[in-house]
Symmetry: C2
Subunit: 363 residues, 2 copies
């Protein structure tokens, strides 16, 4: 088992990464002092419940916990105030009190939703994350929890750090390969912003990662979480540094929105976005090799590096402007300066961005 | 103008109390560095908007702020997730960003609701409170914000401290006398838990307070806020000490619930509850004068010290058990040990409570 600590003062917490962790979950809950007397609400989704909930429930019950499981529909639509309302109701009916714990078993959607339940129920109770996707390594560090509003994603939320994260690699074996690739896109992103040697390692170990080799996957998730935790501990509330985590996300979010959510999944959209950012780097005079290397690596992982030809540049530019409320003329981007390091540029001419978006169209 | 600081480390904030503060609000916003470029959402209710919104909007506009006003229906029903959803929509449509401020203009309902909007919009933006009731002196200290769930009051919320509180005494002139009395009930509570000489002062100045004499009212609000701020700064997250603020609230909440909200307003219900707690003190061997003094003072302020005869003791006991999930047999109460000091007793026999509730029935 690997372990790393997200260092946030008195809100610090460990991430445990390894095989067979779920079967020992009850012990981990006890070790962390989560009170036996206070009921637990386990939140999971319709895609995960049949695969993993039994094992987690059994382990917690064996340790003496009373667990009530609430299942939400799989998918982004569950990140809503309506679902928050339902889960708060479930928490009340299950008799949760101020010392209770809310557990998220699932991917990013369940983590964000259950995390906001934990943040807001009785003004904040304990929270434990049990991620079941590669992508969730990203949301398991940093404490950002939220639901969506009709007009904007992730706009209603909180910063609420978990007690610990239990990353059982066995759960990843059931993931569709497309989700594995898309999750690895964020893993590689963490290398691209911070650590060239980790990008190199991913490059060298692409086959093992895509084959879900537990040792390779454990190491990659560890490194991905580590980079994110270093960044987050230096800037918990996203005042400045934390913005570098958004490498590829400005173009990526716009692509997701314009393609229709689900057409391009998040990890795919940001892979294309990272290629775009790397091309911006060349415009600023950094080596053009950054872009070609970025592209080569994502291709190796079977990730898209171009967007579908039917999407219009105007629509993508509009989505970006709307998303970030950019001032006329100049835009802010995270731009690589080499493989493994980035800078934040607030002086990116929107004409450059338009040109680069155009060049990312599949043809 | 009086000023006091709620001391919460880097979340400390001042409360300004005085006449004519609203007309100078714009300057106060500027002095506190609230950015001119980021739009403000002003939240108020249907009872307050016509009385005070114009003045506040004008002052902010004069200082250069762009203000959008959102009006919610007056009353407890507005503390809902539906209203949160609407206000987040209003914030988005008004173009609020991460540096924006949400302002609450009104009583406790508006403060709790707008405060939770501020706490959750983009995971937390700035918050300013402009209370317009005597009772709101209580909710303006401590950062507790929340909305209600169908199954429980104040169950979905956060701790979110304001930038500052602007208590313009002129707004109190328009309050119905019943609300003034009920608000003073919480003011006197702050004396009863902490400061005998302030209770004495209230006793001596009841006529001036009920006549809304600005100087007396300003002093009383200052002292009420001061006691609460001392308690809250020693226990921001309600781990122990903060519970003393609930003097009279266990019986009070039960009376509110059983009478139907609105029959007894909050300040009235807790006045009766505080008489009950003072009678418990006598059971524990403290002076019976505590109860007679408490009762005499509340009567002087025109507050009820008995509940309507039609309410049943069983219903009231049930509501208390449900509210606090008391263990069988023994209950927890804040109990006075003298005028101006209290202790928390976890060993109150429910039989004593039943007897005391019976004795508080109007007959």
């Amino acid at each position: 088992m690997r372990e790393l600590t997200v260092d946030l003062g008195d809100r610090s917490y460990p991430i445990y990464i390894g095989s067979g962790l779920m079967a020992k979950a009850g012990d981990t809950f006890l070790k962390h002092g989560l009170p036996i007397k206070s009921p637990i609400l386990l939140v999971t989704d319709s895609a995960v419940v049949d695969l993993h909930a039994d094992k987690l429930e059994a382990s917690l019950a064996h340790a003496g916990y009373r667990v009530t499981t609430a299942v939400v529909p799989s998918g982004e639509a569950s990140k809503s105030l309506e679902m928050l309302d339902e889960l708060i109701g479930a928490a009340l009916e299950a008799g949760l009190d101020r010392k209770s714990t809310v557990v998220a078993l699932g991917g990013g959607v369940v983590g964000d939703l259950a995390g906001f339940v934990a943040a807001s129920f009785m003004r904040g109770v304990r929270f434990v994350q049990v991620p079941t996707t590669v992508l969730a390594h990203d949301s398991s560090v940093g404490g950002k929890v939220a639901v969506n509003h009709r007009l904007a994603k992730n706009i209603i939320g909180a910063f609420h750090q978990p007690e610990f994260v239990l990353y059982d690699l066995d759960t990843l074996a059931t993931l569709p390969i497309r989700e594995v690739r898309a999750g690895l896109s964020e893993v590689i992103k963490h290398g691209l912003i911070w650590k060239a040697e980790f990008v190199e390692w991913c490059d060298d170990n692409a086959d093992r990662l895509l084959a879900l080799d537990p040792d390779a996957l454990g190491y990659a998730l560890y490194e991905g979480c580590l980079v994110k935790s270093i960044v987050v501990s230096r800037d918990e509330r996203e005042n400045d540094l934390r913005a570098i985590l958004n490498l590829g996300h400005t173009i990526g979010h716009a692509l997701e929105a314009v393609a229709g959510y689900g057409e391009l999944v998040h990890g795919e959209a940001i892979a294309i976005g990272m290629v775009g950012s790397a091309r911006l780097a060349a415009q600023f005079g950094y080596s053009p090799d950054i872009a070609s290397e970025t592209e080569r690596i994502f291709r190796k992982f079977g990730l898209p590096v171009r967007f579908p030809s039917e999407l219009s540049t105007d629509d993508i530019m509009d989505a970006m402007m709307h998303d970030k409320k950019f001032a006329e003329g100049s835009m802010t981007f995270v731009v690589p300066t080499a493989i493994g390091s980035v800078e934040i540029r607030k002086d990116v001419p929107s004409t450059w961005v338009r040109e680069i978006v155009d060049g990312l169209r599949d043809c």
